[in-house]
């Protein structure tokens, strides 16, 4: 019985991980329609940043990883993706190519084996079933969501971002520099992946293929939550986290994954656009 109750916080903490890896995608996918398969590699870049900075300090790694992954995203956007607006499916293949290159680059830079990232000592121990590092990840997720919300709703730049997301052409006609907004969005979205990477070093392997373990899950959260929807992403991540937790508890890890996939396909039957949809009178 204790086990069943324990699955609740475990589910929430799985949800927090899903939220962190998917948060950035919600915006790059939602606003720009870019299906960034290299998002997983930006997560990886964040994890390696934590690896390189572990002697300096774990907390320093968070802003640093945000910067590193953000700049990588910005470079990707400037060099390639901006030529692809209006062709979202092509960005998928393009960024998959980018992700292959980045994986091999990581292999050449850091070697194929996993590297060791020592968790900071103040994250040892825990409360009940949840270790401090899980609580830390949950706090980080909450913090990221609050920061993004504040950014979207309390700053001018955020307002422009929402405008572009809701109606790109109208925003452009109103004098918003949509190209500029896209750059900022991509920087922030990729930077969030970097933060997720730092968090993942606490619980998982740090190696060249790290991104591939999370990318499909991240996309499923975005699809289930609805494009560009902060509350959608939060609810979808927590829902999937809980579903995962209980499905695995009552069956096994393999079956739990299959159950989650089937649930998402079923869910999209009910809400083909995800949990929340931006209302628009446009046709498609």
């Amino acid at each position: 019985m204790e086990g069943v109750l324990n699955q609740l916080p475990i589910g929430l903490s799985i949800g927090a991980v899903l939220l962190l890896i998917a948060l950035g995608l919600t915006f790059t996918f939602g606003q720009m329609g870019v299906i960034n398969m290299a998002h997983g590699e930006f997560i990886m870049a964040g994890a390696y940043t934590a690896y390189l900075l572990q002697s300096v300090g774990f907390l320093i790694a968070l802003p640093a990883a945000f910067g590193v992954a953000g700049v990588m995203g910005l470079v990707l956007e400037r060099l390639l993706i901006r030529h692809f607006y209006g062709r979202p499916l092509d960005t998928l293949l393009l960024t998959w190519g980018v992700s292959l290159v980045l994986q091999q680059a990581a292999r050449d830079l850091f070697g194929a084996p996993n590297v060791q990232v020592v968790s900071p000592t103040w994250l040892r121990g825990g409360v009940g079933i949840l270790p401090y590092n899980r609580l830390f990840i949950m706090a980080l997720a909450v913090l990221s969501v609050v920061a993004i919300w504040a950014y979207l709703h309390r700053t001018g730049q955020g307002r422009r971002m929402r405008a572009v997301m809701q109606n790109r052409r109208l925003a452009a006609t109103s004098g918003i520099n949509t190209g500029r907004v896209d750059q900022v969005t991509f920087f922030i979205g990729s930077g969030l992946a970097g933060i997720a990477g730092v968090a993942l070093t606490l619980i998982g392997p740090v190696g060249p293929t790290l991104g591939t373990y999370y990318i499909v899950d991240a996309f499923l959260v975005v699809v289930a939550g609805g494009l560009g929807q902060l509350k959608g992403a939060v609810l979808a991540a927590l829902g999937l986290g809980l579903l995962n937790s209980y499905a695995e508890f009552w069956s096994d890890a393999s079956l739990a994954k299959v159950i989650v996939f089937v649930a998402i396909i079923g869910f999209l039957q009910l809400r083909p656009q995800g949990l929340f949809v931006l209302r628009s009178r446009a046709l498609s």
């Binding site: 499916l89 998928l92 293949l93 996309f219």
Partner: protein, 374 residues
């Protein structure tokens, strides 16, 4: 949400047709060019290749041609229909497993297949029993993938799930099937998949002669399916499909049912992938979850993109080129392969979104135009 969804796959419009000077000779040539090229390629593939290539390389070519059959289906759904499917591996796998199950049972000759013995299965599972019948198994090669695609298509396209959503869903489907196959080791051979086949309809599967025969079979099947797909594209149905790709809502307003057209196309491509999977099994000698997951499915799509998605021939060409490149570079430059593969997609997607065939057409046009101008 409006500007950047959907209009996605619209093929860049052809340049406005220029009035071609009415010269009778080029006109006849244009009419004959397609069949002439097809015949030349067919002779090359069916006659020259089996004679010129050593058995190992011929076997590899047969493998690429199996992928080319899948690519043909992707060309239909994605290139013609605008549905980016990242889960063709699922259908490839269903066809492959149907064939593999028959071959395994046939080799076992009434006993349990080898992997069941070491997986601790003591009697043949009910699911396997009908696959001992070759007619049933061969039918399932097509029926299973088509049925799954119809079901998925009805569910998904009716709800107007499209574009990126459809792509990600098919990707999730591939990931889920892999986990399911791996988890049911006693039933499917787990990660190992099905391997170690001996007899293919009375022939020793490893013999050079059998492999040569299989190559010819694969090439012939590809040729037939290609002609069928081309006919389809040129039919009313094909026009409708193209119209749906470029403006689904307009087609709906005209009173057609886009969901039905899309579902049927998706099912046809699934059937092709199933056939490819079934041929792949005796050619390569293995079917395993590693062949039908997310990455192999994506690689196929990328092959189609490289070859040129808007032309069926481009899709086929792309699959063969990518297969060949993978073998060549992994033999010659294994360290650089991922870089090269990545760089290739990036370059093609950026500089030649219509792929190699698109590039060739553009070059050809500019040459002929210059000649016409001169």
């Amino acid at each position: 949400m409006t500007a950047f969804q959907d209009s996605t796959v619209a093929a860049p419009a052809e340049p406005p047709a220029r009035p071609v000077p009415a010269e009778p000779a080029p006109a006849r040539w244009t009419r004959l060019r397609g069949p002439a090229v097809f015949t030349a390629v067919a002779v090359l593939m069916l006659v020259v290749a089996p004679l010129a290539l050593e058995p190992f390389r011929l076997g590899l070519l047969a493998k690429y041609l199996c992928y080319a059959i899948v690519a043909l289906g992707i060309g239909l759904t994605w290139g013609q229909g605008g549905m980016l499917t990242l889960g063709q591996g699922v259908f490839f796998g269903l066809g492959g497993y149907a064939m593999g199950m028959y071959l395994k049972l046939h080799d076992a000759g009434g006993d349990l297949p080898d992997f069941m013995v070491w997986s601790g299965v003591d009697h043949l599972p009910a699911l396997w029993r009908p696959f001992g019948n070759p007619v049933f198994a061969l039918a399932m090669v097509v029926v299973l993938p088509v049925a799954v695609a119809l079901l998925l298509g009805v569910l998904v396209f009716r709800q107007r799930v499209r574009g990126a959503y459809f792509a990600i869903l098919t990707q999730a489907l591939a990931a889920a099937l892999v986990i399911l196959l791996v988890g049911q080791q006693g039933l499917t051979g787990g990660t190992n998949g099905l391997t170690n086949f001996f007899d293919f309809f009375g022939n020793d599967v490893a013999a050079d002669g059998t492999q040569r025969g299989l190559y010819v079979l694969v090439a012939a099947v590809l040729g037939v399916l290609y002609l069928g797909a081309r006919q389809l594209v040129r039919s009313r149905f094909g026009r409708l499909l193209l119209a749906i790709r470029d403006g689904e809502d307009r087609v709906r307003f005209l009173g057609y049912d886009p969901a039905a057209v899309k579902t049927v196309t998706f099912a046809i491509s699934a059937g092709m992938a199933g056939i490819a999977g079934a041929l792949f099994v005796p050619v390569v000698g293995i079917i395993s979850p590693a062949l039908l997951g997310v990455v192999p499915s994506l690689e196929l799509v990328v092959g189609v993109a490289v070859g040129g998605r808007y032309a069926l021939a481009g899709a086929v060409l792309g699959a063969v080129v990518m297969g060949y490149a993978k073998t060549y570079f992994s033999e010659e430059l294994p360290e650089a392969w991922l870089y090269l593969q990545g760089a290739l997609f990036i370059l093609v997607m950026t500089l030649a979104p219509k792929g190699l065939t698109g590039l060739a057409v553009t070059l050809w046009r500019s040459v002929t135009r210059r000649r016409a101008a001169a």
